[in-house]
Each structure stands twice: as structure tokens, then as C-alpha cells.
Symmetry: C2
Subunit: 114 residues, 2 copies
DNA sequence: ATACTTACTTACATAAAGTAACCTTATTAT
DNA sequence: ATAATAAGGTTACTTTATGTAAGTAAGTAT
């Protein structure tokens, strides 16, 4: 791959992982298997997009979905080997963000919390 | 940062770097300073989006823009220290893509190339 | 004067993301 | 029996982002 073109594998990988929310979902699942509503709450993502993105990632072989027919039904999402193999990418990303990213401003206090 | 929330620095960093095209532009600039049309050709990105994204990245302190008043004017884009510090993230990403990503199909031969 | 080059902009169409309300199956409370 | 609650979504609709193509500005070269 020279200066004038991008490796197509790299490009494809980037398109999968850098799609909006995908990286944050994978990062969240690196903490361990989780159910839908846990991810939804942690990331503040809408159900519609979480559902769509989990399906994309499952289709790419990065996420797996296990159904436990308890009551109410429990569905757990976890990473496959392919997904867990992304861990070093996120470790490096964490190093970078803690070294170089500063927050613009503190979030305003929640008026309901007082 | 516990299971129920994402580190806001990490989230902010991810939003910057995983915005569409941003990662590929940074990866391209890791090869060295380049001008607008070189990046445009290498990534097959439209001028409109490249212009927009380079401005975003310059605003985030990741990319710098140098104007050389030659003729015609030469404008070079390069990475700042903050941008170069992302190199390990992309090295890990390259490792992952070469280990786990396979291409769906070979691109059809260009009918003009024969 | 006309055409060419680089580095962009503008205008417009299409696709993706965000928001809110609703659905389905099952369980428990009244 | 009926209502309320819960998980895990889906549907309909609005807003924002992306893609495409054409146009602009400054400075030569012919």
C-alpha cells in the first residue's frame, strides 16, 4: 500500500469500527457480557440505534447474542474472539484520550438532583 | 468509571476520531505531510467532506495547515503532536484488520485498464 | 484574452441518526 | 379477570450528515 491508496482491509475495518456508536458499544462489551438495557443506559443511546448497531456488529462477527429463556427472557450480548481482539486498539485509545483530551466544561448540575 | 457510565474523555475522543473519514484522514497523514488533492485522491473522498473534516480536525488540534505562497499556492496538511500521538491506535487497528478482516470480493477489473 | 491549476464553496438530493410512541410476550399485583 | 410492570425491541417521523456535481477565486502559462 503506497501513499496513493489505502489498504482495503484497513478501510473496511475502519468503516465497521468507526461507525457511530460501534466503538463505544464494543468498548462497553469489553467490560463483560451485558444485556440490552444495560448498554442502553451506560451509553445513553436510543433503543432504535442500539438495536440496529448490535445487529450490524453481530453480522460482522464481532458481537454474539445469547438468549436465556428465563422469565422475563434474558438476552446477553458479548464479544466474539474477533471482537475481543480489538481490546488493544481501545487500550491505546484510552491512553490517548487520557493524555490529550480535555473536557470543554463540566456538565451543568442536574436540577433534579438537589 | 464503572459499568454504568462511559468515561467522558474517552467518549469525546471517540467522537472526534471515529467521525466518518476522520480516522482514514489521520491514518493517511501519519504517512507524512500532504496536500489537499493528494488526500482527496488517496481516500476517494469528496472535496466537500475533506475540507469539512480537515477543518474539524484542525479545530481539535490534531491537524495543522501550512500555507506556502508558491505558485500555485501549496497548502500542506500535517499532524500535530496530539495527532501523531494517535499512531499506536492505528498500529493496533492495522494488526486487527490484517488478522480478522477479509474482503467480500475482489473489485471488478477496471474496464479502462485493459 | 483564454485556459489551466489548486484549493475550496455552494446548492441540492439522499442516507443515516435522533426522538418518541407503540408493540409483544410474560409475570405479578389487585 | 384486569391492570400494571418489565425486557427487548419496532414504527413513524424529524433533523442532521453525507454524497454528488457544478461553480468560484487567485495566480500563472499561452
Amino acid at each position: 500500500m503506497n501513499q496513493n491508496s489505502v489498504c482495503p482491509r484497513f478501510e473496511k475495518g475502519m468503516r465497521i469500527v468507526s461507525k457511530r456508536w460501534a466503538g463505544l458499544i464494543i468498548h462497553q462489551l469489553l467490560k463483560g457480557p451485558q444485556r440490552f438495557c444495560t448498554i442502553e443506559t451506560a451509553l445513553q443511546i436510543s433503543g432504535r440505534l442500539l438495536s440496529e448497531r448490535l445487529k450490524d456488529l453481530e453480522h460482522e462477527g464481532i458481537v454474539r447474542r445469547d438468549v436465556y429463556p428465563e422469565t422475563p427472557v434474558r438476552i446477553e450480548y458479548s464479544l466474539t474472539d474477533k471482537g475481543r481482539a480489538l481490546a488493544p486498539v481501545f487500550w491505546e485509545m484510552e491512553k490517548w484520550t487520557s493524555a490529550w483530551i480535555e473536557l470543554d466544561e463540566e456538565p451543568a448540575a442536574d436540577p433534579l438532583s438537589q
